[in-house]
C-alpha cells in the first residue's frame, strides 16, 4: 500500500472501484468470453473510447464542445498509417509499379518521387512522436486562435465542424499524397511483424487496453487537480474565473489539446487494428457520433464516456446484424431518449440509483477487510475527502 498517498490523490475510493471494474472487464472478462473476432471488434470500439474520454474532459469538464474530434482521430491514424504504408511499399513488393518503392496510390497518380513530408515517416520513433505531436499542435493552433478570440459554445462547435469538412475535402482532393477517398490501405506489417495475424490482434487489444487505462489515469489526474476544479468553475461562471486572474483561453486550449492527444492515440490504435485509415473518420458524421458516445455514457463522467463508446458501438453492430434496416431508428431514438430523459447519460443514472448502494457495500467491505488485516493503512482511507 506504499502508493496509497499518490493513488489516493488521483482516485477517490469510488473511482478506484470504477477503475478496477473497468480494468477487470477489459483485461479479464472480455478476453475470456469473446473469440478473437469479437475481441478485436471490442478493440476497435475501444479506440472510440479514447475520443469519448477526451470529450468528457473537453466538453463535460471544460464546457468546450468540439464537433471536430474526428480530425484528431484521423490525423493520429494517418500518421501511423503513413509509416506502415512506407514499410509495406518496399521496392520488391511494389516492383510492378512505374516507380517502385513508393506507396501504390502515388504511383497511380503519376507521382514519381516520395513527397518530402513523407520522408520522416520511415522512422518509427519519429512516427510515434508525430502521432501525438501533430494532432496536439493542430489543436493548439485552433485552440489559441479560437479561445483567445473568445469563440465558444455553439460557434466553436460549428467552426470545428467546418474544419473537419475542410480537412476531409483536402485529403480527398490531394489523393496523390494522401490516398484520397480510399485512404491509406493495405497495411501489412509493423517493424516486420504481421499485423493481421490473430496473435497480433490479441497484442493490439491488450496494448489498447493498457493505453486506455493510462489515459484514464491521466484524466483522473487532471480532473482531480486544481486545473480540473478550475474547468468546472469555468463552465459555470467563466467571467468569475477570468476576473480571479486566470487566462481562461489557456485552460480551454489545454483541455482541448489533451482531448486531441487522446483522440490521436485512439486513431493510431484504430489504424493498427483495422489495417487502414481513410478520410471518412475525419468528417462530420463520425465526429458527431463520438460526441454522442460521450453523451450516452455521461458527459461528466470519465468512466461513463468509456462505457458509452463501447456500448453504443456494440449496440450498433448487434442491431445492424439482426435488423439492418432498423438500426437508424434505434440509434435515433436512443439519442433522443438520452438527451431528454438522462442528460447525464448512463453515469447519471448510475449516480442516481446505483451508486449509494455500491458505496455502502464498499464501506462494509473495506471495514471487514481492515478489521481482518489490522495492518491496512488507515491513512489511505482517511485521506478521502468527506
Amino acid at each position: 500500500m506504499k502508493s496509497s498517498g499518490f493513488w489516493g490523490s488521483l482516485f477517490s475510493r469510488h473511482d478506484t472501484l470504477s477503475f478496477v471494474v473497468l480494468a477487470l472487464i477489459l483485461l479479464v472478462v472480455l478476453p475470456l468470453s469473446l473469440d478473437i473476432f469479437r475481441l478485436s471488434l471490442m478493440g476497435k470500439y475501444m479506440t472510440y473510447a479514447f475520443v469519448a474520454l477526451g470529450l468528457a474532459l473537453c466538453w463535460g469538464y471544460g464546457g468546450v464542445l468540439s464537433l471536430g474530434q474526428g480530425v484528431f482521430f484521423g490525423l493520429g491514424g494517418y500518421m501511423l498509417a503513413m509509416f506502415l504504408k512506407l514499410e509495406s511499399s518496399d521496392p520488391e513488393s511494389t516492383a510492378i509499379q512505374t516507380t517502385p518503392g513508393i506507396p501504390d496510390f502515388m504511383d497511380w497518380n503519376q507521382i514519381t518521387e516520395l513527397p518530402w513530408f513523407w520522408e520522416p515517416f520511415y522512422s518509427f520513433p519519429f512516427t510515434l512522436a508525430a502521432v501525438l505531436v501533430v494532432p496536439t499542435a493542430f489543436a493548439y493552433l485552433i485552440g489559441v486562435a479560437m479561445f483567445k478570440r473568445r469563440v465558444s459554445g455553439v460557434y466553436f462547435a460549428i467552426i470545428t465542424q467546418a474544419i473537419a469538412a475542410i480537412l476531409t475535402i483536402l485529403i480527398i482532393g490531394q489523393q496523390g499524397y494522401t490516398g484520397g477517398v480510399n485512404g491509406i490501405t493495405d497495411l501489412r506489417t509493423l517493424l516486420g511483424w504481421n499485423i493481421r495475424s490473430d496473435f497480433a490482434r490479441y497484442v493490439f487489444y491488450f496494448v489498447c487496453v493498457g493505453l486506455l487505462l493510462l489515459c484514464i489515469v491521466i484524466s483522473q489526474f487532471v480532473s482531480r487537480s486544481k486545473l480540473g476544479r478550475i474547468l468546472v468553475a469555468m463552465r459555470g461562471a467563466e467571467d468569475r474565473v477570468r476576473f480571479s486572474g486566470y487566462d481562461v483561453a489557456n485552460f480551454k486550449t489545454f483541455v482541448f489539446c489533451l482531448g486531441a492527444a487522446f483522440s490521436a492515440i485512439g486513431g493510431a490504435m484504430f489504424t493498427l487494428q483495422v489495417g487502414f485509415m481513410s478520410p471518412s473518420f475525419i468528417g462530420i458524421v463520425p465526429s458527431i457520433e463520438m460526441v454522442i458516445f460521450c453523451a450516452v455514457g455521461g458527459r461528466l463522467s470519465i468512466y461513463g464516456s468509456v462505457y458509452g463508446a463501447l456500448l453504443v458501438s456494440w449496440a450498433r453492430t448487434a442491431f445492424s446484424e439482426s435488423f439492418p434496416e432498423l438500426w437508424l431508428f434505434a440509434m435515433g431514438a436512443l439519442f433522443i431518449a438520452v438527451v431528454l430523459a438522462f442528460p447525464d447519460g448512463l453515469a447519471g443514472l448510475y449516480n442516481q440509483y446505483g451508486r449509494r448502494h455500491v458505496e455502502r457495500q464498499l464501506d462494509k467491505w473495506l471495514l471487514t477487510l481492515k478489521s481482518s488485516t489490522r495492518t491496512a493503512s488507515v491513512k489511505g482511507v482517511a485521506h478521502e475527502r468527506q
Binding site: R149, V154, Y155, I159, A162, I292, V339
Partner: protein
C-alpha cells in the same frame, strides 16, 4: 488566362458567372433562412434541418406524381401547389418535433444538437423505408426548363430566375413577419427574455411552436425548390447542413440581414474562386475564408455591440 478570348466573350462570361453567383446566393438564402429563424432566433441547433428540406422535396415529388396522374392539364402549375404542401408538411412536422423534443431543451442549447441529430437519423430511415433507398427524380413543368437567351453566349436559366425570385420573396415575407407583425414582436420578446415575455401575457409555448414550425416550413419550401437543381434521396439532406450552418453563423446568428449578407459574400467568394480554381480547392478556400473571418469576428458579420 484570358488572352484566348475576345472582349465580348469575356463580358458574357462575367455576366454568366455573376448570374451563377446570384443563383448560388439564392440557394444559400433559401437554405439558411429557416435555420436563421430556428438557430438565430431560438438558439436551437437543428441538425435535422437538411432532413426537413428533403421532406419538402419528397412532398414535391409526390405532388408532381399526383398531378401527372390525375390532373395532367394543370401540370404546369403543380409546382406552386407543391411548395404550399411542402411548407405545410415540413411546418407540421417541425411543430410535432418541437412539441415532442425541443420544448424540453430550451435551456440546454447544445443538447438540441444531439437530439435533432437523432431526429435526422430517424427521418432518413423513414424516407428510406417509405420512398426507397434510390433517388427519386422530379420532372419540371416545361415552362420552367430551358433558358432565356440574352445574347449568343449569355443564357439565363429560367429556374435560376425562379429560385432567385423565391429567395427574395421568402426573405421579404419573413422580414415583414419578424419586424412588422405583432407575432414577430412576440417572437423577439420570447427570444430575449422568456420569463418576462411569459409574464406580460405572451403564450411563449405557442410562440415557440409556431416559430419552430415556420423555420421548418421554410426549409420545406427550400427543399421543394431544390428539386430543380439537386438530387433527392434519403441522405441528400446531409449535403447541405454544414454550408447552411456556416451561412447563418457567418452572418451573425440573430440577424436576418446578416444571413442574407453572408449568403451573398460566401456565394460570390465561392463562385468566383470556382471559376479560377478547381472545384475542390475553391470549396476549401471558401470554408477557410469563413473560418478565418469568424476568428476575427466571432459573433459573425452583423451583430449589434451590446452592453452586457
Amino acid at each position: 488566362m484570358f488572352s484566348d478570348y475576345s472582349t465580348s466573350e469575356l463580358m458574357s462570361i462575367f455576366a454568366m458567372q455573376g448570374f451563377a453567383g446570384l443563383t448560388l446566393f439564392s440557394v444559400f438564402v433559401l437554405m439558411a433562412l429557416g435555420l436563421a429563424i430556428i438557430f438565430g432566433q431560438m438558439g436551437v441547433i437543428n441538425m435535422a434541418h437538411g432532413e426537413f428540406m428533403i421532406l419538402g422535396a419528397y412532398i414535391t415529388y409526390l405532388t408532381s406524381n399526383i398531378f401527372s396522374q390525375w390532373l395532367p392539364g394543370l401540370y404546369g402549375s403543380y409546382f406552386f401547389v407543391a411548395m404550399i404542401f411542402a411548407f405545410i408538411a415540413a411546418g407540421l412536422l417541425g411543430m410535432l418535433v418541437e412539441w415532442l423534443i425541443i420544448r424540453h431543451l430550451y435551456h440546454r442549447p447544445l443538447d438540441t444538437l444531439l437530439a435533432t441529430w437523432g431526429v435526422s437519423l430517424i427521418l432518413q430511415q423513414t424516407y428510406r423505408s417509405v420512398f426507397g433507398a434510390r433517388e427519386v427524380g422530379v420532372s419540371m413543368p416545361d415552362w420552367m426548363m430551358g433558358s432565356y437567351p440574352l445574347t449568343d453566349l449569355v443564357e439565363v436559366p429560367i429556374n435560376g430566375i425562379f429560385v432567385m425570385c423565391l429567395a427574395i420573396g421568402t426573405t421579404c415575407v419573413i422580414a415583414a413577419l419578424m419586424y412588422r407583425s405583432r407575432w414577430g414582436i412576440q417572437v423577439r420578446a420570447v427570444v430575449q427574455n422568456r420569463t418576462m415575455a411569459g409574464a406580460v401575457g405572451i403564450n411563449t409555448q405557442k410562440v415557440d411552436r409556431m416559430t419552430f414550425g415556420l423555420g421548418c416550413g421554410i426549409a420545406g419550401i427550400a427543399g421543394s425548390a431544390f428539386t430543380m437543381i439537386g438530387s433527392i434521396g434519403p441522405t441528400s439532406g446531409q449535403l447541405y447542413i454544414v454550408d447552411t450552418f456556416l451561412v447563418v453563423v457567418f452572418g451573425g446568428a440573430a440577424s436576418l440581414l446578416g444571413t442574407v449578407a453572408s449568403a451573398f459574400t460566401i456565394s460570390q467568394a465561392q463562385s468566383t474562386m470556382e471559376f479560377f480554381l478547381s472545384g475542390s480547392m475553391a470549396k476549401v478556400l471558401t470554408l477557410l475564408f469563413v473560418v478565418g473571418v469568424l476568428m476575427i469576428r466571432p459573433q459573425g458579420l452583423f451583430t449589434l455591440k451590446v452592453r452586457r
